[in-house]
Each structure stands twice: as structure tokens, then as C-alpha cells.
Symmetry: D2
Subunit: 141 residues, 4 copies
Amino acid sequence: MSRPAHSFSTRASFGDCDPAGIAFYPNILGWLDRTFHDWLWEFGGHAALCARLGARGIGVMEVSARFLAPIREGDRLTVELAVEEWKERAVRLAYRIGSNDRLVALGHETRGLFAQGPDGMMAARLDALRDVLEDHEKQAG
Amino acid sequence: MSRPAHSFSTRASFGDCDPAGIAFYPNILGWLDRTFHDWLWEFGGHAALCARLGARGIGVMEVSARFLAPIREGDRLTVELAVEEWKERAVRLAYRIGSNDRLVALGHETRGLFAQGPDGMMAARLDALRDVLEDHEKQAG
Amino acid sequence: MSRPAHSFSTRASFGDCDPAGIAFYPNILGWLDRTFHDWLWEFGGHAALCARLGARGIGVMEVSARFLAPIREGDRLTVELAVEEWKERAVRLAYRIGSNDRLVALGHETRGLFAQGPDGMMAARLDALRDVLEDHEKQAG
Amino acid sequence: MSRPAHSFSTRASFGDCDPAGIAFYPNILGWLDRTFHDWLWEFGGHAALCARLGARGIGVMEVSARFLAPIREGDRLTVELAVEEWKERAVRLAYRIGSNDRLVALGHETRGLFAQGPDGMMAARLDALRDVLEDHEKQAG
């Protein structure tokens, strides 16, 4: 994975887990989304960014995840997000979830910037979004 | 409870349940909200009703619930909704959740119609909403 | 509210919110449960406590909440929990959710300690649970 | 996709959707899991099957999904599940979500049968699970 752009920490709670006593997997994917949105707060948040870019949302087109070890209630988790690849109308993000220095899950999201086009919603070019996110990265670097 | 205005059926799934093997209570409250919104589809749905009434949302101001028996995965549930009382700017809804002829939970929601006022969001008068919902009831009756 | 026994901080995320742009209320109740379980980690966590007390779970019998102001994505929240009253087989907990020094929601849970009895699950006496939780309080005080 | 082994219908509710007005993607993945568990009820349900097979759970090792069109509140959805491939210790399931004869999402899960081994949880052989699920298929065919 490239250098993480952002990291988010949380703790698996009782209510995140299922009758088998481990985190219910849609909740694990919820932590990926939460990490992405937490990152966006460094740039004013999803709503402000969309307003600035004339878009309706920065949505998910594809997602995948591998679960390497069970996550149990009480486990402290760190989710790291890295930008893996910018394409013209899609950006691929990589996620790693660690717990106590052990890797417990890996994920990927492919996101696009959705704007109202003449024939409905369409994936817009990502140049402007990339400028915002990378300019900040440069300042931080 | 007054005569139910609407009823909604679902089945508790594995992912609705927690490590104690019973439905996680915030998910039970989610079924109340789901039943309310399912009812609104008889009138065009939440978004269309709000547009028609110049409102932003039909939101919850208060909620309460009593859990009488555990709900387990696989249980078939029926949620009944009844309008308990119309006030000027609030409507009180009563819910009963049954499973196999046994009452397993009771709930109440107090909802208002939220509109943009000069000083932020405010609870609007409910006359127009009541007219829509009761006119339909009369036609059905 | 009595002196808080525990406090838990989180941030409302995009995925916690609904199409009206505010936190979906079952998710707000999920934060109450999360705060309670976060508190239990000071005593070994829910599973260890239940094993020690011969119980199956510390479950919710009643819940109520009032929503005083909308919670929007990005809002930083602090949930405070206080023990309001110990009864023989039920404990009443009070919750306050604040955001930027403003009170945005109030809640109550009534919880019991559920154990397997001769005729199914039953609410057990709470003396032993109270001893654990209050002894810790005394040490901290 | 192979012939569907099971299909499950639901309706996207207000609370399934996010501030962009479309179904929050972890909730869409929740519908995949719900469809799988709904299928298992034809064989007694997850808990009974696990007891019969000496396992702790039929868990997800990998998941992926592609979102082809936005799912909005009120959309009626049908989720179809097909067994794509049986391996020694993993089964690959394919999902299709349709709404009004339009395909709106595709998904895959790789699941294993987890049992307590001498060194912790391990993926068990799937022969017995396959026998149960395919015998039923034959009877139905």
C-alpha cells in the first residue's frame, strides 16, 4: 500500500458484532466509508467539497474486502486509507484495518464524482478533486 | 391501541442480532421507522409529501420502546402502526411488534413536520399533513 | 442528571445520516448502547462481566429519547452516561448527548441482567453487578 | 450467473439511504448477507446448520460488489443468489440486485465454514454443507 493519506481509529462495540460474536461484515465496510469521510473533513467535508466542485456526491462504484482474522467486541482498530490510483473519472482507494499490530482486513473502494448531466447522473472528471486533495497533501508533506 | 393505520412484516436476520443472539435494540427501532416510511408510500412517499407540504422532513422528536420478549434470528415479525393523537405541531404514533401471535415490543414516536423558518428549522402546523393522511383513511374505510 | 459515570466521544459520519441530512435516529440510539458498552470495558467488558455473574446479557428492557436539535454529519458528539436508579432487578441509566456545548439529545435506558432460569430467560437480582460497578466508582472517586 | 438458488425481496427505506439520497453502500451489502441467511432458513437456519455440522459459523472471507445504478428510497429490490463454485474449504456465491427489471448491483461473497481447531478457528471442509444444500436443491428440482 502507498503511504496512508489518512488514518481513523475506532473500537468494535457489542452492537457491531453478530451472533457468532464477530464484527458483522457490512459494519466493517461501514468503517471504510467512515474513514474516507473522516479524511474529507480535512478539506471541509463531503458536502462543502461537492458544492465547490458542482457535484452531488463522491460515491462508491466498486468495493471489495478480504477478512483475514475475526474482529471481536472491544478490539481497538486502526483503518488506514491510501490513494492507489487516479484515473480520469475514478479513483481507487486502498484500506488496511489493523488491530494490535496485526492486519485483520484489507479493502478497496473505487469512487467517482457524481454530477447531474443532461441524461441523469454521470461520473465527472476528477482533476479538480485531485487538485484539492493533493495540494493539501503537498502542504502537509 | 387505536385501529392500525398500517402494518409491515419482516423477518429478523442474523445481521440484526447481537452476540447475545437477540435483535440489537437500535435495529428494532429501525423497524418502527421503516414501518412509518412504508406507510407513507401509500401517499407518494416521504419526499413527495414533504415537497407538497413545503417541508424538509417528517422527523422524530421523541421515541420510546419496551421490549417484552427477545427477538431471535428467523423470527417473523409484524409491526403495526396506529395514530394515537394529533396535536397542533406533533403527532403521536403507537407501534406494536408481534411475532407468532405474541406481543414482543411496544413503541411510540412523536413526529413533527420540519420546515425552514426565519430562524432555522421549526416544527410546522400539521393540518395539511393530517388532511392527506386522514382523507386516504376515509377512502380506505 | 447525576454525576456522569462515563463519557464517550464520536463524530457523526455521512453514513449515520439520512436523506434529510441529519443523523438517523436509530443510529443515535446506537450511540447510547455504544457508550454503555464502552463503560463496561473498565470492568473487563460485557462478556467477562456476564461470565463472572452467571448471566447471558445485560439487556435493555425500556428505552426512550428526546431529540432536541438536529445532528449533522461532521458534528462532534459527547455522550455522557449516569446511573439514575438501582432497583432490585433493573437499573435506570440517563444519557445526555452534547455537541459544541449544546445539548442535542437526552435518553434513558432501563437494563436488566438476564440469566437462564428454569422457565426461560429471567431478570436476575442486580446486587452483584452493582457491587462491581460501584466498587470501581469508589476507587476512582 | 448460474440458476439462482434463492431470491429475496425488499424495499429500500428512508433509513437505508444517505444524505446523497441513495442507499448507503454498507446497507446494500447487508442485503446480500440477509439473502444468504434467508436461504439458510430452507435448511433450518444458520444456527441449526452450524450445530449439525459442528461449526461456529458460515462466515465471509471475501466480498466484492459493483454498484451500477443508484438505489433510492422506495425502490423495490430483488436479490438473487447463485452458488458459483464449490472449493474444498470455500464456496463462492454470486448476487444480482434488480429493481424494476433493471440490474442495479452485482456482488460476490466467498464463505467458509468456521470451526474450532487445535490452534484457533479454522476453515473446515465443505463436503457436509454442500451435501445438505445440494440435496435440497435436487429435491426442489
